[in-house]
Symmetry: C2
Subunit: 344 residues, 2 copies
DNA sequence: TTGTATGCGTTATCAC
DNA sequence: GTGATAACGCATACAA
């Protein structure tokens, strides 16, 4: 009687089959230098004992496993779900398994850093990390990043053309006649947040509209923060005729706050989001937004990683994914009295 | 020069801090019998070296980790996504991390069995398994099952009231006046598939409608199979006036096939699904279906597991989750000529 | 073809 | 308080 008869090990198999652990290991890994009779016997015993090799031991010993790790801050947000879909689809039939890891605790400062190390110590062949706060990772581990913090990132990254997308949104609003356009920012330390803000300012500049700091409110991509920001913007004396939110969650928050304040969208205020999550199409009114095909980003990141693992050096370490404006029902020309008189 | 300077280990920390690995390990695990000065020094070195303990080694040694494993056949299907959401939400602030594991290869026969062993060998404290084909798992590992294969399952399970839900759907259709109701089955080896079929037959029996085997087509919960089944049903000489599909994917397949054959839903044929995945509400026409709040099942399974890990014995090893009919736009009374004359 | 010995990074046990 | 040492389950160089 063992103290911990938890799982059946390769030792048990070897003993039951009357061979050494080495031979058992050989059979397990389908080496060719093992006698057919022995092979059969060991295989049978493995079946009978319901044996499976311990991933922990296995990957600790040989520093590699046919597993790709995906690190997400959490799994409930649609944004992350879309990434999971993209990665999940791309990994099919690649021969690799997928291990999605997410912390139960709120993500701390160097969350990704810790967990990349966690998974990289043999458990996975490489890691895909979503929106990491950490700029760089321990060398020697293969990391692909989705939506990195800064362009100083030293690892292969996938990022959307955020500035271009944001600019398109602004041009659309300005084309409709809006001059007083509010902005709800994204997470300030992410490249996506920075670039979208740049797009906002560029749009203003191109139309020769003065930048008004009172029309810009910081956000962090959460719904809750979006509500606060929307209230701040829509309760202003002379409220904006349009609001461009740095992501759909914030934009949907604007929709809800507008309803709460008795404002009609798009009659009283136009709203544009960013991301094109599924919810955007279901919102009331259907949300005009900038599509960045999150799922596609997951797919690309995965293929980048798979190629890397195949030995190809990632020659395009910074893949940019196109964005495009999806016009739906949440925008229209501002009411005449509300503009400063200029039309078109 | 080491052969593989992959990651920084506890040995490196110990050396750099001028202590033994034992002490370093003590600091790592916050043992109390270590001098404050030593503690500080080691902590600092860990910071500097960016050290993180290897999950593999750690869990290999001490057969436990604050991680809950979730095994899903794949992550792209909405059904599984919903479960992930439920589990992800429930695990928050529980102190446990979540590790979702999914195979890149198509799920083989004893897929779950293998992978439960994989994760259970120290990597996780317990596993939640979705729709396993395997009836039982190695003892000693904590497993909670969502939608088990049979009621002979020896592990704590979460399952929807499938029979009741299916019966409700049938009563609704029969109440509308349908007599000739087709059925597209679910995966035959899952309890959910069996029970939904029972509900179908019970509905027939209660209304004294003879069971017609030509109206029943096997399915397996996939869209592709759903298309095949739907064609088979809708191309019949005397086609059914309504189709009850064992899940929404199949039901949506029916919708598409009907369109393809030039049939109007619900005018020419009524359709009811099962699951109430988000897509059901977006389908054209909006799909009437049986809600089984998949997300809720994930939540319950997680809480079951967390309680178990806390030491509580799962006294309700078979949790049943309510189902209810969600009436939307895909059903109506059959055209008069198509029924056998009986009305109501 | 098969077995022996060793090490992977960590923790538990027992000394000091 | 701290340190040496033996496991944990597996894979591999080397010996037989």
């Amino acid at each position: 009687m063992r103290s911990k008869p938890l799982a059946v090990t390769i030792q048990d198999v070897a003993r039951a089959a009357g061979v050494s652990v080495t031979t058992a290991s050989r059979v397990l890994n389908n080496k060719d230098d093992v006698a057919p009779a022995t092979y059969e016997k060991v295989r049978r015993v493995m079946q009978e004992l319901n044996y499976t090799a311990s991933l922990a031991a296995k990957s600790m010993r040989s520093h590699t496993a046919k597993v790709i790790g995906l690190l997400v801050p959490e799994v409930v947000e649609v944004y992350n779900q879309e990434i999971i879909k993209g990665v999940g689809a791309a990994i099919r039939d690649s021969g690799y398994d997928l291990m999605i890891y997410t912390g139960g605790r709120p993500a701390g400062a160097s969350w990704e850093l810790e967990h990349v190390a966690l998974l990289s110590n043999g458990l996975t062949a490489g890691c895909i990390v979503v929106t990491p706060a950490a700029p760089r990772f321990p060398n020697g581990v293969k990391v692909v990043v989705i939506d990195p913090q800064g362009d100083g990132s030293t690892v292969p990254s996938v990022i959307a053309r955020n500035r271009v997308g944001a600019l398109a949104a602004m041009e659309y609003l300005i084309g409709l006649g809006h001059r007083r356009i509010g902005f709800i920012g994204g997470r300030a330390n992410t490249l996506s947040g920075i670039r979208r803000f740049e797009g906002y300012k560029d749009g203003l500049t191109a139309a020769k509209i003065a930048f008004d700091p009172t029309l810009v409110v910081a956000g962090d991509y959460t719904y809750e923060r979006g509500v606060v920001a929307a209230r701040q913007l829509l309760r202003q004396e002379q409220r904006p005729t349009a609001i461009f939110a740095a992501n759909d969650r914030s934009a949907i928050a604007v929709l809800d706050v507008a309803r709460e304040l008795g404002l009609q969208v798009p009659t009283d205020v136009s709203v544009v989001g960013f991301d094109n999550v599924p919810e955007a199409a279901e919102a009331t009114p259907r949300l005009t937004t900038v599509d960045q095909s999150i799922r596609e980003m997951g797919r690309i990141a995965t293929n980048l990683m798979l190629g890397w693992l195949r030995g190809e050096t990632p020659d395009t370490p910074f893949v940019k994914v196109a964005t495009r404006l999806i016009v739906r029902d949440s925008c229209q020309a501002p009411a005449r009295g509300k503009t400063d008189g200029r039309w078109q």
